[in-house]
Amino acid sequence: MNSYNLKYFQYNDNSLLISWPERIDENINNDVNEFKNRLETGFKHILEIRSSYCSLLLIFNKKIDNINRLIEKLKNLYLSRKSLNKYDRILWNIPVCYENRFALDIDVISKQNKISKQDIIIRHSKTIYSVYLIGFLPGFMYLGGLDNTLHIPRKKEPRLRVPKGSVAIGGEQTGIYPQQSPGGWNILGNTPINLFDKSKDIPCFAKPGDRVKFFQVSEDQYKLIEKEVEFGLYELNKEVLND
């Protein structure tokens, strides 16, 4: 059982930051989310746990009075597991229309990376991505695992209005804009589904540690799904992974 050397750091009166080795690495992120899962089920006075690529932020509902004792407890808990606890990860299948109407930067990607549009779509929709983080905007998932040939730097001048649902690439990651916003990622498609629903107790369907895969839909299918989403009839296709 692989354990990492974690660093514990008091962030303010009632928060503590736990840091893993600083790398974008699927194994590290799995370990982060596995520890988060165990903390959620058995640690006292936690108001909220936030996870990122290689760190966890623990926010307590009261001031930390004995930081050394707290760190000791956390260390013991981290090391106490016998094997990597299996937890269910969900794979979400998300429809994307890559037609020109939506794919505002697909020509740029094609030209700059010397790859055909068809290849871009195939490579973008064949990968199973890891949800490393939700941030930047409410519901914005940073997805890791993008095919090397699709890596492309952010645009020098960000767009003032990236349309809602835009599927885009920024550096070595891909993601979806949950609402219209300014943004510098290169857009290659659009999804008709909602990424963020503020009326729900859990506003995002996915959580960090889950997996995401895209599947291509035509413009007609896009319109149909858009209608279904509007009337609350569309159900996202999901699979439970237990690896």
Partner: protein, 279 residues
């Protein structure tokens, strides 16, 4: 009910903020100067979590459509009821038809108006704090109607001098940030000895300082930030994140303000001077 005659420069409804949704990328929001806001609610014996109005730099103008009691705290913007000055940090009886207005501000930057019972506006994700994309609008508009909760509480007044002192303080108390140890010795000394001032680039999301320090630290892999996190950009700019900040960031986090320091900073404006002190 209260009718907004003139919303002022940036007036929004705020409470203690939105907790438990940061893992989904939702900012905390809430009153920038929690201390002044809490006191306004305390004066009216409201719950400290009651929603109130936060005014920024300029006052607003409100017409009351029913009797109520209000309290004004924070920045002194010369509050007036029907044209006559009113006392801050006191309960003020307001009658139907009265007009609340403000003049130029004397000190501080943000004023709070609490209403007996608190504001009853849309609650999204357990909070009434306005934020773009979460609530219907992010600030109040002309002709908005502000509805209040019913309440039969008594009220009391409080110690104004103590709060005034806090608002005028330039002492920004903080913790070392997660990347503080990566700063050079010279940089650490500069950060803690120099006087800094606030640039004209400041809002509910963050305050950028005028003075730069050398940056010898590389960006980090995107990680957690909170209200009060002090970031250092590659160009040496210092950014202090405030209540509406995003939940993650990639700049090194060199300091973390205490909650009370965030309150103090909220009352600062362009060119106000501050000093960082490690707690």
């Amino acid at each position: 009910m209260i009718k907004v005659i003139d919303p002022g420069f940036y007036t929004s409804i705020q409470d203690k903020g939105r907790f438990g949704f940061q893992n989904y990328g939702v900012p905390v929001s809430g009153c920038m100067d929690e201390n002044s806001a809490e006191i306004a609610n305390q004066i009216l014996e409201n719950l400290t979590s009651s929603a109130l109005l936060e005014l920024t730099m300029t006052g607003c103008s409100l017409e009351f459509k029913k009797d109520t009691i209000i309290a004004v705290t924070g920045s002194d913007m010369n509050a007036k009821l029907n044209g006559s000055s009113i006392q801050m940090y006191n309960k003020i009886d307001v009658k139907k038809g009265d007009l609340l207005s403000f003049d130029r501000f004397e000190y501080g930057f943000r004023t709070y108006i609490a209403f007996q019972g608190g504001i009853k506006s849309e609650k999204v994700m357990k909070s009434r704090s306005m934020y773009n994309g979460i609530t219907k609008s992010f600030k109040i508009q002309k002709n908005d109607k502000i509805v209040l909760n019913n309440s039969i509480n008594k009220s009391r007044s409080t110690n104004q001098e103590k709060i005034q002192k806090l608002i005028l303080s330039d002492n920004i108390e903080c913790y070392k940030g997660p990347e503080f140890h990566k700063l050079s010795k010279e940089n650490k000394e500069n950060l803690l000895k120099k006087q800094f001032s606030i640039s004209n680039n400041h809002n509910r999301m963050g305050y950028i300082l005028n003075e730069k320090i050398k940056n010898n630290i590389k960006p980090i892999i995107t990680s957690h930030v909170m209200p009060g996190t002090v970031q250092l950009t590659p160009g040496g700019k210092i950014i202090i994140l405030m209540r509406d900040c995003q939940t993650t960031g990639g700049y090194p986090r060199i300091l973390q303000l205490t909650n009370s320091a965030i309150n103090i900073l909220s009352q600062k404006m362009t060119n106000s001077e501050i000093k960082f002190n490690i707690k």
